[in-house]
């Protein structure tokens, strides 16, 4: 059994008078496909943001490959509800800029990322004029741009049409097989039945259950 890629030890995240995470403790193995499920407001996004180093936990520790999230940022790819893209720029321009932040030169990686999510790198339309699903996919392209070891995806398939979703799952599967650790928060577990190695159930700020995918997830 490999060393845990990610170790979370009783993390609490407080928003003023409300606690979104109430002591989450878990270890996640590298190279696996984790699917996080749970009701609205369960704390999934908050957990993901904590893993990405965007939200300092009020209490508790998070280690990614033994580092703090901030230090491990090169290994992390994060996709959120908002697109994290500039509406006024085309997809290619966006990725070119973000590639720069990771010290990636040249257009090829960007074009590759865009093609990977089945969009057209030539599309000159500004992202603000994309359809919702197109924007969603472009946002995923941003997350996988620097081909990180760990992917944190917050509902990547919402608003994405069925075919593209299937293709994206395939893509993620491929990356998992290439040894990447993948976290997907979603409400469409059925999409992932084939792909996910493990289903993690959250409820009111805690992980209440972890079922290996052999067991059919409790959806529907």
């Amino acid at each position: 059994m490999p060393a845990p890629a990610i170790a979370v030890s009783n993390v609490v995240k407080q928003f003023g008078r409300f606690a979104a995470l109430r002591g989450v403790t878990a270890e996640f193995d590298p190279g696996r496909f984790h699917t996080i499920l749970g009701d609205n407001g369960a704390g999934k996004t908050t957990l993901l943001r904590a893993l990405a180093g965007l939200a300092q936990p009020t209490r508790g520790e998070i280690s990614i490959f033994g580092q703090s999230p901030r230090d491990a940022c090169r290994d992390l790819g994060y996709m959120a509800h908002p697109s994290l893209l500039y509406d006024e720029m085309s997809g290619m321009e966006n990725l070119r800029y973000f590639a720069g932040l990771y010290g990636i030169e040249g257009d090829e990686p960007c074009a590759a990322a865009i093609r990977a999510v089945r969009l057209d790198p030539e599309l000159t339309r500004p992202v603000g004029q994309y359809s919702q699903g197109m924007r969603q996919r472009m946002s995923l392209a941003r997350a996988i741009l620097h081909d990180p070891k760990v992917l944190l995806l917050d509902e990547p398939f919402s608003n994405v049409d069925v075919h593209s979703a299937a293709e994206m799952v395939g893509l993620l599967k491929g990356m998992r097989d290439a040894g990447k650790t993948i976290f997907v928060v979603t409400h469409q577990a059925t999409l992932l039945e084939g792909a996910a190695d493990e289903f993690i159930w959250m409820q009111s700020g805690q992980i209440v259950d972890r079922t290996p995918s052999s067991v059919r997830p409790r959806v529907q």
Binding site: A52, G53, L54, A55, Q56, R70, C73, R74, L76, Y78, A80, P82, S83, L84, L85, Y86, D87, E88, M89, E93, Y97, F98, G100, L101, Y102, G103, R142
Partner: protein, 224 residues
């Protein structure tokens, strides 16, 4: 990826976007144009009087115009939470700050380049002192306004009622800088005495606060 490459990339990006929608530039321009007009209506100065007050006029106009522009500095990064994308990247926070500060500096300088001639015409100014000194004063002064302005704009986007917040934070800190710019300009225009002291003061102000901003911006950016 070094500090500079990121700074340049961000600066380029901002300039391109600002060029597509000339929001900040417009409101600055509009504001300072009106200021000139207002004064030209409010009285027609003799050359001597205008020398006395021109320094104040110019710099107040620029200060306020700058505030108007600075308020929009971070709006673009907030829109789709793009700032988060920057925060999760390994890019140094200082780069982001530098880029923003430089961008604003550029805008304000452009503005000044447009406005200065207007002022000169309206108040038929002729510097009795060494006119060239106005250039270092202008540059140092503008940077003094912009560097703190950018920083405090970053503070104020995290507060309620942002727009009014920026001047509340910026003005008290900028008082010595404003004093120095105005005095230096006045001295140079009126040609009485040397503006050396004020220029040095401006220089120290710039150095002190630029280092402070660069040193502390990380904390501001990462404070969620």
């Amino acid at each position: 990826m070094t500090l500079w490459s990121v700074t340049l990339a961000t600066l380029k990006k901002d300039i391109r976007l600002e060029w597509r929608s000339k929001d900040a530039l417009n409101s600055m321009l509009f504001f300072s144009l009106l200021v000139v007009v207002i004064f030209s209506f409010s009285f027609d100065p003799t050359a001597e009087e205008s020398r006395q007050i021109a320094g104040g006029l110019i710099w107040v106009a620029f200060l306020f115009a700058a505030v108007v522009a600075l308020n929009q500095t971070w709006a673009r990064e907030l829109r789709n939470h793009v700032l988060d994308a920057y925060r999760v990247s390994p890019a140094p926070p200082e780069a982001l700050f530098l880029a923003k500060a430089l961008g604003n500096f550029l805008f304000v300088v452009i503005l000044e380049a447009v406005m200065a001639p207007l002022f000169i015409v309206f108040y038929n100014l002729r510097a009795l002192g060494p006119a060239w000194q106005l250039i270092p004063v202008g540059i140092l002064g503008t940077w003094a306004l912009v560097v703190n302005g950018t920083f405090f704009a970053a503070l104020s986007i995290r507060t309620r009622s942002r727009e009014i917040m920026l001047p509340l934070l910026l003005f008290p800190i900028s008082i010595p800088a404003v004093q120095a710019m105005v005095e230096a300009t006045r001295i140079i225009l009126a040609g009485d005495g040397s503006s050396r002291f004020w220029i040095i003061l401006l220089l120290t102000y710039d150095v002190v606060f630029t280092t402070a901003c660069l040193g502390l911006f990380d904390k501001v950016l990462q404070a969620e």
